[in-house]
Amino acid sequence: MTNFDAAVSAEDLTKRYGSGDAQVIALDAVTVAFGRGELTAIMGPSGSGKSTLMHCLAGLDTPTAGRVWLDGSRHGSADRVELSGLRDDALTALRRDRMGFVFQAFNLLPTLTAWENITLPLDLAGRRPDQAFADTVIDAVGLRDRLHHRPAQLSGGQQQRVACARALISRPDVVFADEPTGALDSRAGAEVLGFLRRSVDELAQTVVMVTHDAVAASYADRVLFLADGKIVDELREPSADRVLDRIRALESAARGARTAVGAGA
């Protein structure tokens, strides 16, 4: 199925909500692989299923059908785990040790300092941070002088950079970023995207990012386009313009299809 080294892969991933007439198909037998050491962006209009895809890949949501694998390179070739069928505690441990998350709403714990937020995944696992690596990450996000501040004392961009550092600190197999720039102004957004890009280039981190912003998608190595629960297109080495062109093309195609369906009925 995969012809390149994949960190995360999914096969026939399907997610349906409800039943009968009210049934909504959020994911329709999606088969996809995310390359190791790559920044992959998932794009699509609202309701296309991009968030559902990410949640299923991250084990936050349970797919109706299909399988998801997490492939750890740092943990040796035998470390290929299938997510489906894992119990809650095993999934939790997997998220804690082998995945990182960046959310649109930052979602830092308000009672913890920046440093404590960053090291929380390690704390939860009962591990001590590798100081050298932690220094690398903190310097990369430029938060050295803010480590003992509470989230409420930080700006939005700073909070999101703390969240990025938190996602990277455990050297996860993959970082999932859900609209990481959605709540930021363009300058702070660019900082965060630049940081994610560098984590791929310099730390060989695998990043999967859901976004609807063409500029954000242009930071990726590869863009997947999702519509009606299916991957409808893919773009390598994207630029903002090419992404926008592709979106327009997809939208007009979708309109055409809808018109055709309407006419057929």
Partner: protein, 841 residues
């Protein structure tokens, strides 16, 4: 507007359920208190009224020992016009012997026997009245204590060393006419005449009647006739006077019970106010956006305020209704469980119901008022923000007031001193303690941030559970403080009483242990009686006994050389036994009665008497005719001792006490070579004396301490209600903060916190809050107890004994409360839906 609020209430039933629970418990306790005291008063009065009495006649002799009336008086009264019945009532020494061979404690043995008559004095609950020799009827409680019922054979101890065995034919409840104690046994008249004697009266003397009960149609005529016939040496009370006195006594008994119970109910309510206020604050905080929306669409501040208050009224009424029902149920249940003789009256007065509603609604409104005002101050702009917060009052004013109250309270206690503790100063010290206690309640929020916050920094544990739990606990100091304050209220009072109890019992223990040698065998009169010379003689005949202290106490006036007189007590003993069988705690001089008298510390201080001074002991001597003449005995002060319950007042050689001085002793202390042999010997010697108990020192101590334990147990149970209410507060706080933190918990889960870890975090937060309340409550309670025992006993404030056991149990209990209170909120938190929590709207 109002409809919108009520809909909202209905939509969040879970949130309001706990508030209602707090109201229900508080109101229930108040109403139950009222029902119990009303019913108790009604039971005492209704069940015991006798309607067959026109008058009661008693002799009023100069010498109380001559109070018995001869049969001739009864005959004269019976012959009076208008008197339909004249019943002479006999009383005499009688006590029921229990299974342990010793007499029971439910009645006063001196007047424990009476004669059966057909009057309303006796209400049979089983069997019939005694009719002939060999039959006896027993009073219900006495029968229960002795484990006897109809058909059994009862052994009755009579005056001196006589006793009687008779078949139980009936069990009765006794209706007193006003002043007599309930008897334990009733014989038919002939048997009573034969058996019952006052132990004071000469055995040969013809037995008399304690009083004569008269019946007749015209009460006033009967009273007038009796007074005219008998003259001033007799006292005649009309039946209606007696009934009025009984009703009055019942009423005042009911009031005493009511006041005591209401004090506890007030404590429970106070805890309730904290819980309700805290819950309302949280309910308002969570609906900030809703209020802002209402304001944005045009609601005036007053409307928002009124809406929140209306919500409080609705909750108050609902809670009060349930609370009144609970209270009535609890009150009636308590009346069923109480050991009440005869018919129990169940009274639910409208006052109880009204009070329940009044208290419930007012308390809820008072508790909600602050929240209502804050809700009204929410800016309409808050509707547009996601992180809107209700405006908060600053803690500065509250904390400053609290610190001032603590300082003023401490100062009020400090200006008084144990050496000169007059009544106003006692009041001042106690008021200071209460003021400081209120001050601590006020400063609780800043205490949270100043005590718990540094703790979070100290605990650099690699596990995040404790750290996050502590941080969450200090996140809203006001909320944590309110929650733990509710716990603190009940707990501090429990600990205060425990401290007083511990101090009292430690003091008694120390006194007894220092006064009585460890190897002593103690002879004690059973059932609050006294030990007479026969006991002393019998004890001295026991082989192996080397010393016997038989202290007997009475009244004496101590007159100094300068002529100052001081009313006091004396205790006469055998000089040889002092220092061996009984050891006084000497402050000066020697414990040698051969050299003179040992003054009690208080008397020595008042008179300024020193060792070697001369004093005169002025004893009241009762003559054969009942006249009291003072007889003075000169004595040298040989020493000064502390004085204790075992050796009251001035210690003097028993031989020096003039004959005719009233004195009583209820304990004797024997020492001898082998304690076990001595005890066995004494037990043999008194095996046939049901009125004498043979004990060792620790058993004596247990007996002396038992009343404290009983009172303390009761206090704990009553204050427990406040703690139960406070537990609801902890559950409330946790449940609502978990609800507030849904998103945070979701993120926590997404980042890799397992469900068990989330549960543990919430549980630990709960334990932190509970333990904080516990530590605060125990600390404040012990200090409060220190002041209380200072006020009661004039010991130094810090001279109190810390009730370690109670403190440890209370703290462990608070830990348990924390765990239990977190059960449901923790489950809820662990079930938090990750996707819903992190979903971006």
């Amino acid at each position: 507007m109002l409809r919108a609020m009520l809909r909202d209430l209905r939509a969040h039933l879970g949130r309001v359920a706990m508030t209602v629970a707090a109201i229900v418990l508080g109101v229930g306790f108040v109403v139950a208190t009222w029902v119990v005291s009303d019913s108790a008063a009604a039971t005492v009065s209704s069940g015991s009224y006798r309607t067959d009495l026109a008058a009661v006649v008693q002799a009023r002799p100069k010498n109380p020992a001559d109070a018995a009336m001869p049969a001739e008086v009864v005959g004269r009264l019976a012959a009076l016009p208008g008197v339909t019945r004249a019943e002479g009532v006999r009383e005499g020494y009688a006590a029921l012997v229990g299974k342990d061979g010793k007499i029971g404690t439910t009645s006063w043995a001196e007047t424990g026997g009476t004669d059966w008559d057909g009057s309303q004095r006796f209400a049979l609950t089983a069997g019939r009245g005694p009719a002939r020799a060999g039959e006896v009827a027993l009073e219900k409680q006495a029968a229960e204590e002795a484990g006897l019922s109809v058909g059994d054979s009862a052994r009755v101890l009579l005056g001196g060393d006589r006793s009687d065995t008779a078949t139980v034919v009936g069990v009765f409840a006794y209706r007193a006419t006003g002043w007599e104690f309930d008897p334990a046994v009733a014989y038919d008249e002939a048997t009573a005449t034969r058996l019952l004697r006052s132990p004071d009266a000469a055995p040969a003397a013809a037995p008399g009647f304690a009083r004569v009960e008269l019946s007749g149609g015209d009460e006033q005529a009967v009273v007038a006739a009796a007074k005219a016939a008998l003259g001033a040496d007799f006292r005649v009370d009309s039946g209606s006077e007696l009934r009025a006195k009984q009703a009055e006594a019942a009423q005042s008994n009911g009031d005493v019970i009511r006041k005591a119970l209401l004090a506890f109910a007030a404590v429970a309510l106070m805890a309730g106010v904290f819980v309700i206020a805290n819950t309302f604050t949280m309910l308002v905080t969570q609906r900030t956006r809703q209020f802002a929306l209402l304001r944005a669409v045009g609601a005036r501040r007053a409307q928002v305020r009124r809406a929140v208050l209306a919500e409080a009224v609705v909750l108050g009424v609902v809670g009060s209704t349930l609370g009144v029902a609970l209270g009535v149920g609890l009150g009636l249940l308590a009346m069923r469980l109480l050991p009440v003789v005869g018919e129990v009256a169940y009274v639910v007065s409208p006052w109880a119901v009204l009070l329940g509603y009044g208290v419930g609604v007012v308390v809820t409104i008072v508790a909600a008022y602050g929240s209502a005002r804050r809700a009204a101050r929410v800016s309409p702009m808050a509707a547009l923000r996601t992180d809107a917060a209700v405006p908060r009052r600053s803690l500065v004013l509250r904390s400053v007031l609290g610190l001032l109250a603590v300082a003023a309270g401490a100062a009020m206690v400090a200006v008084t001193s144990p050496e000169d503790l007059t009544e106003p100063k006692r009041v001042l010290a106690m008021a200071g303690a209460v003021l400081a206690w209120v001050g601590v309640l006020l400063t609780a929020p800043i205490l949270v941030s100043t005590v718990l916050a540094p703790l979070t920094r100290l605990l650099r544990s690699p596990r995040p559970v404790t750290r996050i739990a502590l941080r969450n606990a200090v996140r809203d100091p006001r909320r944590t403080a309110a929650t733990s304050s509710a716990l603190m209220i009940g707990l501090s009072l429990v600990c205060a009483f425990a401290t007083v109890g511990q101090t009292l019992s430690d003091e008694t223990t120390a006194q007894v242990r220092s006064a009585v040698p460890e190897n002593a065998v103690v002879l004690r009169a059973a059932a609050y009686g006294t030990l007479d010379d026969t006991v002393r003689t019998a004890a001295l005949a026991v082989p192996g006994l080397t010393g016997l202290a038989a202290p007997r106490s009475g009244q004496v006036e101590v007159v100094s050389a300068r002529g100052t007189a001081e009313d006091a007590e004396f205790t006469g003993l055998d000089p040889a036994a002092l220092g061996t069988a009984l050891r006084p705690a000497m402050l000066a001089g020697d414990a040698d009665l051969r050299r003179g008298v040992l003054l009690a510390e208080r008397v020595a201080t008042r008179l300024g008497a020193k060792v070697g001074d001369q004093v005169r002991l002025r004893f009241p001597v009762v003559g054969a005719d009942g006249d009291v003449t003072p007889v003075e005995v000169p004595a040298t002060v040989a020493g000064v001792h502390e004085g204790s319950d075992l050796m009251r007042g001035q210690l003097i050689d028993d031989a020096l006490v003039p004959a005719g001085v009233l004195r009583h002793g209820d304990s004797m202390y024997a020492v001898g070579g082998d304690q076990a042999a001595l005890r066995a010997g004494l037990e043999r010697a008194f095996a046939s004396r049901p009125d004498v108990l043979v004990q060792d020192r620790e058993q004596l101590l247990d007996d002396l301490l038992a009343p404290y334990q009983l009172v303390l147990g009761l206090v704990y149970v009553l204050l427990g209600a406040a703690v139960v209410i406070a537990v609801f507060g902890v559950v409330n706080t946790l449940a609502l903060s978990v609800l507030e933190r849904t998103r945070e918990l979701g993120v926590f889960r997404a980042l890799g916190a397992s469900r068990a870890l989330v549960r543990r975090t919430v549980r630990r937060e709960s334990v932190v809050i509970s333990l904080y309340g516990g530590v605060l409550g125990i600390g404040v309670g012990v200090l409060l107890g220190g002041v209380m025992q200072y006020v009661i006993m004039a010991n130094p404030v810090f001279g109190m004994s810390v009730p370690w056991l109670t403190a440890v149990v209370a703290l462990a209990g608070m830990g348990l409360v924390g765990v239990l209170a977190a059960l449901w909120p923790a489950r809820r938190a662990a079930r938090a839906d990750i996707l819903a929590a992190i979903a971006t709207e």
